[in-house]
């Protein structure tokens, strides 16, 4: 079952934004996120906002979904006004975007292009399951204007894929990367999940080698998080699977950083490595606090210090769109201090680091100690930025608690 959204204040039914937030629109890069809340089956570890066809219920269907998103893109234009702010990144995530009928993703992208325009070098990404794409469908996406595809490979070990309840075979992900390259995608990502129950160091070494060897220029490696309410959590609780061990996760992280670095992929965010130029701009937009509009059920948006999130169920979403109303369920208007805290929380995860100017005097003292403790890099600190060391990345949340204390 999907996790619960945060609480917030009511969002206006027309989607309108506070004047201050609106006034700052265009001063930061602007991105679009499109959420596709469909999956053929739900994986045991997943708590994302996604639904199998059985779970959809009346009022929502994959067939009519693209039209609803196109309607929300038009709503975004009305809300944000006429200012000429072309979109620098579009990211279609899920769920499984490639479950939509052929051409739908292209239609949504066309709507973004029509309403806002894209920057010349815009990054256009879709997530994909290795077994929900073919050479033909990839070629079609490329032709529609997609520049980047991100595959959920997760692992090359069959027993790990089984624990995660992934449906694809290990070799399929590698083949899909090759097909994407063949279709002309300049950037391909593979996602890995490590420290799953039963995964050995050798299993993960093989996964890293497969990811690097596939030709992808970007790898995201995430420690498995056992989310409440998932089947995985239930199996661990019942003792069917061992729990995830943080020390093992730490070892795997070091393993990932070493293997990926050796292959020429450098870290640029705690969980992301890329060849130079392969960094995911959409990903950076989140950590840098850029503006983005999230379309689709449960999607989160941020414009000028206002964060809002859409109603979660596809049927509720469809009803709002059909009524011509904003699908936003609630929002929060951040104070200056909230935004400062978020900046610390988010930017400290990046290789480019956190400008020290965002810290209070107490936070600066903590940062200085972090350098002394080997959690942050000395030269970067001297140059005015807090950049985490390898050990510091593993303790980023603990450090953030001290930095904003």
């Amino acid at each position: 079952m999907p996790s619960q959204p945060p609480e917030g204040e009511p969002a206006p039914s027309d989607g309108s934004l506070p004047t201050d937030a609106l006034a700052s629109f265009g001063t930061r890069p602007f991105a679009f996120y499109v959420h596709v809340p469909f999956c053929s089956t739900r994986c045991g570890y997943c708590d994302f906002n996604t639904y199998t066809s059985d779970e959809l219920g009346p009022g929502a269907s994959r067939a009519s979904y693209a039209d609803q998103v196109v309607a929300e893109v038009r709503l975004a234009r009305r809300v944000l006004g006429d200012r000429d702010v072309p979109v620098s990144s579009v990211f279609v995530g899920g769920g499984t975007p490639t479950l939509l009928p052929a051409g739908d993703l292209g239609r949504i992208l066309a709507a973004v292009r029509a309403e806002f325009g894209l920057t010349a070098d815009a990054e256009v990404t879709t997530e994909a399951n290795p077994d929900s794409v073919t050479a033909e469908s990839l070629a079609a996406l490329r032709a529609d204007g997609f520049t980047r595809v991100s595959f959920g490979m997760q692992s090359s070990a069959p027993h790990v894929l089984a624990v995660l309840e992934r449906t694809h075979t290990p070799g399929r992900a590698v083949a899909a990367v090759a097909e994407a390259r063949a279709a002309g995608f300049p950037h391909v990502n593979v996602d890995l999940i490590y420290a799953a129950p039963g995964e050995t160091e050798a299993d993960f070494a093989a996964s890293l080698a497969a990811a690097v060897g596939s030709g992808a220029d970007h790898v995201s490696a995430y420690a498995l998080i056992v989310e409440d309410g998932t089947r995985l959590a239930a199996r661990i609780r019942r003792g069917e699977l061992p729990d995830v061990d943080d020390d093992v996760a730490a070892d795997r992280y070091l393993q990932a950083d070493a293997a990926l670095g050796a292959a020429g992929l450098a870290w640029y965010e705690v969980s992301n490595w890329a060849r130079p130029g392969g960094e995911c701009r959409h990903n950076l937009a989140y950590w840098r606090g850029d503006d983005w509009w999230g379309a689709g059920p449960g999607a989160h948006s941020h414009v000028g210090g206002v964060r809002w999130w859409n109603v979660r169920h596809p049927a509720a979403y469809a009803a709002r769109i059909a009524a011509g109303e904003s699908p936003a369920q609630a929002r929060e208007v951040l104070t200056a201090e909230d935004r400062r805290v978020e900046d610390v929380l988010l930017r400290v995860r990046l290789r480019e680091g956190l400008p020290l100017g965002r810290l209070t005097p107490a936070g600066l003292a903590v940062a200085e100690r972090a350098v002394a403790d080997g959690l942050a890099e000395g030269p970067a600190y001297a140059a005015g930025r807090l950049v985490l060391t390898l050990r510091g990345r593993l303790l980023a949340d603990a450090l953030v608690r001290d930095l904003v204390d």
Binding site: S3, P5, P6, G8, Y33, H35, F48, N49, G93, A221, Y222, A223, I225, D246, D247, A249, A250, Y253, V270, S271, Y286, W287, W292, G294, G298, A299, H300, S301, H302, R307, W309, E332, D338, V341, E342, L345, L346, D373, L375, R393, L394, L395, A396, D397, A398, L399, V400, R401, V404, D405
Partner: protein, 644 residues
């Protein structure tokens, strides 16, 4: 000293029937021909108490006597009439004493005045018991016919014999199927040196034999003797704080006469008070013009603090008063100390107010402000013993709604340095460093009664607690009395629990202070990341320092969450480390992902974690959860739950 937990200032006190009232409220005396207070011939007075173990039926017997003498009718009878406080009622124990005047027309046709003086029933209150006994000429030794005598009862019996009281041995609960009256009558006869046939057999529950018992009290207990013309001397055997009336003082008149509207003097301090009211309890207060030789009654002077009306003190008239006080007065002396800290630091003023209020009714409770690096602001409190500590703590939590952390109880040490200077240590963290010549610790003389099959187990336990066997006697074929000298420090922690578990609950324990002894004692400090944690410092015997250090270090290792750096936990005597554990550094504390741009969730999580951080106590750079302190300081090993 008053006792440790008498009726405190409580709004609902008004419904309690024992509160002294004005003359015109309560004038009904059950027996119309009864002698009048203040002019009762001592020859018809019988002052007695009941010595019994907690659940051997003392209160039920008292209830039955109240009924039989007609001072309480069956309808008004409330079970255990004389026990009034909630805590007492729940625990089934009597922790305050009172005196009831029972007019009783005996079979010889004479109407006597029986004064039943209740005695506190716990080891901490030996001195109070001795004063109650000193107010009597006789004592009913009440023993459960299914269980036999218990250690505290035996100890109190010895006290009664020291006070030359006439003992009336009684077996109670003879109606129980498990009763063994023959066996226990023989046991009692052996202990007090009488004939087994002299042991009365009653059932307080059914009333069987209680009438005969009253006749025996009249027949056997000597009438009080005193000089009615001498200056007044009355001994205080109890004093209770009442919200409406202030302190109510219970006295036994030895010589002379105390009258209302005269001024009285406390002989230990010389302080003079106005006497506002004199009276007797029967069982509700009845004020009178005065009380005379041999009588037992109450005085109200309007003072608000029981420390001005101390158990054992002598009351006399302010004018032409006595010059020689009655013997036996002692200042209350705290034996056990513990730091009490509010769980929430902002409750400190409430804790102070609550202690101030409790002290009005508890002359033995002492406290002074104390600061702990680990626990913040609190009070170092002194108690007569462990039960006293428990009662005070429970009342603070229950009546004042406070959540408290208490440090492990410790005793008082006298430390003599090489240069001859001396200090008294009530808090282990204040144990002096430097050249120590001797450390003295308080000792107790303990009596343990148990079935003889447990002798081995008890001896082993006492051995490990540094006990010295003084003697052993068989009370009957299969019951034995063991007498040990033990350091009080060895008893205050978990001795009684250990004793109970080694004897399947059959052993009983009593102890009394018996001076001090030089011992090879050391202070063990617990250091977290090199910083001493004052709340965990303990004074222990050198032979046990290692075991204490190891157990505390491993306990803390389980309780303290991993930090960003490796945290050594050390137990040390001075600079010498005797035990060490290490909390490995946490290696991963980062969430991998951002939940699809749900930054709000990430920030809320951070806020929640920051809240959790606020509940941590900082020891140097180490964050220690409050729960870790509570669990580490608790004597119960099961409370040491692993960190999540």
């Amino acid at each position: 000293m008053g006792d440790r937990a008498r009726a405190v200032a409580r709004a609902d006190h008004a419904r309690e029937p024992a509160r002294p009232t004005c003359e015109d409220d309560q004038t009904t005396v059950a027996n119309a021909s009864a002698p009048v207070p203040g002019s009762t011939d001592p020859s018809v007075i019988r002052n007695f108490c009941i010595i019994a173990h907690i659940d051997h039926g003392k209160s039920t017997l008292a209830d039955r006597m109240l009924q039989l003498t007609g001072v309480v009718d069956g309808r008004a009878m409330r079970a255990q009439y004389l026990d009034r406080m909630d805590i007492e009622r729940e625990r089934g124990i009597t922790i305050k004493s009172q005196a009831v005047r029972l007019p009783y027309t005996a079979s010889d046709g004479v109407t006597y005045v029986l004064n039943l003086i209740d005695t506190p029933g716990h080891v901490d209150f030996t001195y109070e018991v001795s004063r109650s006994l000193a107010a009597c000429e006789g004592a009913i030794l009440l023993v459960d016919a299914a269980q036999g005598i218990e250690a505290q009862t035996l100890a109190n019996l010895y006290l009664a014999l020291e006070n030359d009281l006439q003992i009336i041995p009684v077996l109670n609960k003879i109606d129980l199927p498990a009763a063994q009256p023959e066996k226990y009558a023989a046991e009692l006869a052996r202990i007090i040196g009488c004939d087994p046939d002299d042991v009365l057999r009653v059932s307080a529950k059914t009333g069987h034999g209680v009438g005969e018992l009253l006749e025996e009290v009249v027949r056997l207990v000597p009438a009080p003797v005193g000089d009615p013309n001498a200056p007044a001397r009355a001994m205080i055997f109890d004093s209770v704080y009442d919200t409406y009336r202030g302190v109510v003082t219970y006295v036994r008149v030895i010589d002379g006469h105390l009258s209302t509207r005269e001024r009285i003097q406390m002989m230990s301090t010389g302080v003079v008070h106005e006497m506002l009211e004199v009276g007797v309890i029967s069982p509700d207060p009845i004020s009178s013009a005065g009380i005379g030789v041999g009588e037992v009654g109450y005085l109200i002077t309007g003072v608000k603090d029981v420390r001005q009306s101390r158990v054992g003190d002598t009351v006399t008239s302010a004018r032409h008063g006595a010059t020689q006080a009655l013997g036996g007065y002692r200042d209350p002396k705290p034996m056990v100390f513990s730091g009490l800290y509010p769980l929430d630091g902002s409750d400190y003023p409430e804790l102070r107010d609550a202690l101030d209020k409790l002290q009005l009714n508890d002359a033995a409770l002492v406290y002074e402000p104390e600061t702990s690096v680990a626990l913040g602001f609190g009070f170092r409190c002194g108690f007569l013993g462990l039960l006293h500590l428990e009662i005070v703590r429970e009342r603070l939590e229950r009546e004042f709604g406070l959540d408290l952390i208490s440090t492990a109880p410790n005793v008082v040490y006298r430390v003599v340095m090489d240069d001859g200077s001396e200090s008294v240590v009530t808090n282990p963290s204040e144990f002096p460093s430097g050249k120590i010549a001797e450390v003295y610790e308080p000792m107790v003389r303990s009596t343990i009664l148990a079935p003889s099959e447990y002798i081995g187990a008890i001896m082993e336990l006492c051995q490990t607690r540094r006990g010295t066997l003084l003697g052993m006697d068989y009370l009957s074929e299969d019951r034995v009395e063991l007498r040990y000298t033990l350091p009080l420090a060895e008893i205050v922690f978990d001795f009684f629990d250990a004793l109970k578990s080694k004897t399947r609950g059959y052993a009983s324990l009593d102890y009394e202070p018996t001076g001090e002894q030089a011992s090879d004692l050391v202070k063990v400090d617990i250091l977290l990341h090199g910083e001493p944690v004052d709340a965990f410092s303990s004074i222990v015997h050198r032979d046990k320092a290692y075991a204490y250090g190891v157990s505390m270090a491993s306990k803390l290792k389980e309780l303290i969450p991993r930090q960003q750096f490796e945290v050594p936990i050390q137990a040390a005597i001075g600079a010498r480390v005797i035990a060490r554990e290490t909390i490995r550094a946490i290696r991963k504390d980062v969430l991998a992902k951002c939940y699809g741009g749900d930054i709000t969730r990430k920030r809320k999580l951070l806020e929640k974690q920051k809240e959790g951080k606020k509940r941590m106590k900082m020891v140097g750079r180490v964050e220690v959860p409050q729960e870790a302190f509570i669990a580490a300081l608790s004597t119960d090993d099961t409370a040491a739950k692993p960190k999540s």
